[in-house]
């Protein structure tokens, strides 16, 4: 495992995983902006991640693309790379690196729970595990997302004269919320913020059931009474949200577990729907991976490092530059 440094850089063959700055060869775990950036020479990722990068940054966001199927091997010198489903968003993957019989897994962002909008997480056994820790505290125990989405549906039924604006990240979370609504038999058109349109179209094209959706337009205020609107969190506080009739501000995020957090952000209806593993899932993955060496990135590392050490696992935090906690999803 000495072949990779704390920036997820393999010097030997000049390969980076999820680099922040433009690099020669970049393996990209998924399309979120804190992982997938513009300007690499060569991008290696799943086809869907590459599609998403092109939608967000344009067709020329990298000079060369190599799409990999899950499980398809790609070798550079004596390094073998395979991608495996991470269950985070459409196209998301973990990276398995094999070298001289040592197996190292970089989970990227991952979620163990079921999700119809992407291929579900697959556990990969390894010697060294580099895991994320966005929700690495025992207070995070995600509830069943169906119960959470029912809260939204119930509130829509009760508050007929209000519209519900749901804050959800444009890539992944927005479509997951739409899919969950469909699973719970909410069949009305869902209205979306303009910035979500292309990604929603892409999900539809990839045969993810997000149902009928329509971009919000300058219709009469009363038109949106009783409707559900999905928007990126940044739009909730913006002037954009004032055009709607008596909006009830909702937010779909794992952070909504903490009431004080919801209150700080002015969220009236918090929905605890996360695309990351919760505490128990993190522990479970660490255990089942059989890894003896655990490196922890992204978020609340301290508690997880402490826990691993107690289990006699070698563990330390990896602080990857440019990623502060709590801003990412």
């Amino acid at each position: 495992m000495d072949f990779i440094n704390h920036q997820l850089f393999i010097k030997d063959i000049n390969v980076h995983i999820d680099p922040i700055l433009p690099k020669k060869t970049a393996i990209i775990t998924h399309g979120h902006a804190d992982h997938a950036r513009f300007g690499h020479d060569h991008v290696i990722a799943t086809r869907q991640t590459i599609d998403i990068m092109k939608i967000r940054y344009g067709d020329k966001c990298a000079k060369k693309f190599t799409p990999l199927r899950y499980g398809q091997k790609y070798s550079i010198k004596n390094y073998d790379f395979t991608l495996h489903p991470a269950g985070h968003i459409l196209g998301s993957s973990q990276v398995l690196i094999e070298k001289n019989n040592h197996r190292l897994v970089i989970t990227g962002d991952y979620k163990v729970g079921k999700d119809e909008t992407c291929k579900n997480f697959k556990l990969v056994k390894c010697d060294t595990l580099i895991t994320e820790a966005t929700f690495g505290l025992p207070i995070f125990q995600h509830p069943d997302p169906k119960d959470e989405i029912q809260k939204l549906i119930r509130s829509v039924k009760i508050n007929k004269n209000n519209c519900h604006i749901v804050g959800a990240y444009a890539l992944g979370k927005a479509q997951r919320v739409m899919n969950l609504l469909r699973q719970q038999k909410y069949n009305e058109t869902i209205y979306i913020h303009g910035s979500l349109e292309k990604l929603c179209q892409y999900y539809s094209k990839e045969k993810i059931n997000i149902g009928k959706f329509e971009k919000v337009s300058s219709k009469d205020k009363s038109f949106y009474e009783g409707k559900i609107i999905i928007a990126p969190p940044s739009a909730l506080k913006d002037r954009w949200s004032r055009r709607f009739p008596n909006p009830i501000i909702c937010m779909a995020s794992g952070w909504m577990t903490v009431k004080q957090r919801a209150k700080q952000q002015g969220i009236e209806l918090p929905l605890v729907i996360s695309d990351h593993s919760d505490w128990n899932e993190l522990l479970d993955t660490i255990k089942k991976s059989k890894a003896k060496n655990i490196l922890i990135t992204h978020g609340q590392e301290d508690a997880l490092v402490y826990y691993c050490k107690k289990q006699n696992l070698v563990s330390k935090p990896l602080s990857i530059q440019g990623r502060s906690d709590e801003e990412i999803e």
Partner: protein, 525 residues
């Protein structure tokens, strides 16, 4: 319990006053014993300090690893919420078996001290997250959910077609379980009869003056001014049978100040300030603190830190309700009371002679060698009105003292600032090192907080548990009310009410004072 805890959950997340009222009204449509408990809890009348924070920690450490709990608490910033989230729920009991609020509280009251560990833990395990949060809030006292007593009264009044002032008036004469109130609200009986003389009367409070707007608008001749004292506001109830002393919130604090209770005679209700000092010379808040938060005061303590009352106002005199009279007329009664008062525990607040606002400024800023906090400006013909009504009484505080200090450490805040690094420790030079002189967690704007929070995250040089040490490059201008010598702090000083006034981007850190210069400037030996 389910209904009440979801009411609290919704109230805490609702910014709109009208929606809060609607939520309260939905809940109080029925008036039963559960609602009586709810009303007592919401208005902080349920004196039910069942368990202390320290005991709760002890219980939670038995359920989860102490370090994991501490990491979580540091992140969440609210003890009740951390415990409610981290506590393992007994999943077998998940379905519908929610007890109602009154049964739950009654059952908890029956738990013996020796059985708290097992019995209270059992109760917590059987509740859902949100119910657990509610119960812990109830059991530790103080909800802090952004709902004032007044708002609850307003909701009830509107729902049952009464005026909120009517409820306000009888409020302190009502007792749990509020049967007479509920019957009257439902129009089953007439308004509850209350003996007004024996009641704690909600105090009249002042609004801060807006120097720019108010002085242009207000006619100085219609107002009188008094000094504002930095003690604790009290209400003294004197009758031939008994004497009692109440704090601003209506708590009976008589037993802590026996010298007042034993010597005062007459028949009146007095509004005033409790101060520490001999011969009616207040000796500062630091001394007063030696007498606060104690149930009893030994003779020795009474001698070392003698107390007196500086009377501002009078509400009743010889059974007569004076509250509808003007301030000027009430003052005449106050003087009459004082003439007959034979003790040396009470004096009268001085009325300042002034004719223009400019003239008042000099009284506000420098008088009594720093011991007053500023001045009160009161409309001469104001009635005695409960609460903070606009347009009658104003407070005008002295300009605070200011010092520039260097940001040294930061910690995450609590409540609405949880998760932000919002508690700041700052210091001044002592030779080539910095020595902390205080800690502040308010005063900054939301924008400044974001900037500071970001700076701290990106410039941490060291971590001590939840405390982060930061690069020494930010200068804070700290405002504070006063500073005292202190043996407890390394710097030898303790500030009163320090807050962040602004960030001094313009000043280099080597221009910050040394502790020696600081002490000299603020006259500390």
């Amino acid at each position: 319990m389910k209904k009440f805890s979801s009411l609290l959950h919704n109230l805490i997340l609702t910014p709109s006053r009208n929606t809060k009222i609607k939520l309260l009204q939905d809940y109080f449509k029925i008036l039963d014993i559960n609602r009586a408990y709810a009303l007592a809890i919401l208005s902080d009348q349920l004196s039910f300090q069942f368990i202390k924070a320290s005991k709760l920690r002890e219980l939670v450490y038995k359920q989860v690893d102490q370090h994991l709990f501490d990491y979580s608490y540091d992140y969440v910033g609210d003890l009740a919420e951390t415990i409610s989230l981290i506590w393992p729920t007994n999943k077998t009991n998940k379905e519908g078996k929610s007890q109602n609020l009154s049964t739950l509280i009654e059952n908890i009251k029956k738990i013996k001290k020796s059985e708290i560990n097992t019995e209270f833990s059992k109760v917590l395990s059987e509740l859902s997250n949100n119910e657990r949060w509610t119960l812990i809030k109830i059991c530790t006292g103080g909800l802090r959910i952004g709902v004032s007593e007044r708002l609850v009264k307003t909701a009830l009044a509107d729902l049952y077609n009464k005026s909120v002032n009517e409820i306000e008036e009888i409020w302190h004469g009502l007792e749990f379980p509020y049967e007479n109130l509920f019957q009257w609200l439902k129009n089953e009986t007439s308004k509850p009869k209350i003996d007004f003389k024996k009641l704690f009367h909600p105090m009249m409070l002042a609004n801060p003056i807006d120097e720019e707007k108010d002085f242009k608008r207000l006619d100085a001749n219609k107002f009188q001014a008094e000094y504002k004292w930095d003690g604790i506001r009290i209400q003294l109830m004197v009758s031939s049978k008994s004497v009692s002393l109440y704090s601003r919130t209506g708590d009976n604090i008589s037993s802590a100040f026996p010298e007042i209770i034993e010597t005062t005679k007459g028949d009146a209700v007095i509004d005033g300030e409790l101060l520490v000092g001999g011969n009616f010379k207040p000796s500062g808040f630091n001394d007063l603190q030696q007498r606060l938060n104690r149930k009893k005061a030994s003779k020795e303590l009474q001698k070392k830190f003698p107390v007196f009352i500086r009377a501002y106002d009078i509400l009743f005199y010889k059974g007569k309700d004076l509250r509808k009279l003007s301030l000027v007329k009430r003052r005449k009664y106050l003087e009459r009371f004082q003439k007959k008062n034979t003790t040396n525990q009470i004096d009268l607040s001085t009325i300042i002679d002034f004719s223009t606002w400019e003239e008042l400024t000099k009284y506000k800023n420098n008088f009594y060698d720093d011991l007053n906090e500023g001045v009160m400006i009161k409309l001469k013909n104001s009635e005695y009105l409960p609460g903070r009504k606009k347009g009658y009484w104003y407070k005008w505080k002295k300009n605070p003292k200011l010092v520039d200090a260097i940001l040294m450490y930061a910690q995450r805040g609590h409540g609405k600032r949880s998760s932000y690094y919002s508690d700041f420790t700052f210091g001044v030079w002592k030779e080539n090192e910095l020595v902390p002189i205080g800690k502040a967690y308010s005063g900054y704007t939301d924008k400044e907080l974001l900037v500071l929070d970001k700076f701290i995250r990106n410039n941490t040089t060291n971590k001590f548990g939840p405390v982060r040490e930061v690069k020494k490059e930010i200068i804070l201008e700290v405002a504070f009310d006063d500073v005292f010598p202190s043996t407890r702090h390394k710097s030898g000083v303790a500030m009163r009410f320090p807050r962040i006034h602004r960030i001094r981007w313009d000043k280099p850190i080597n221009e910050v004072l040394s502790i020696k210069e600081f002490k000299k400037e603020f006259k500390i030996d």
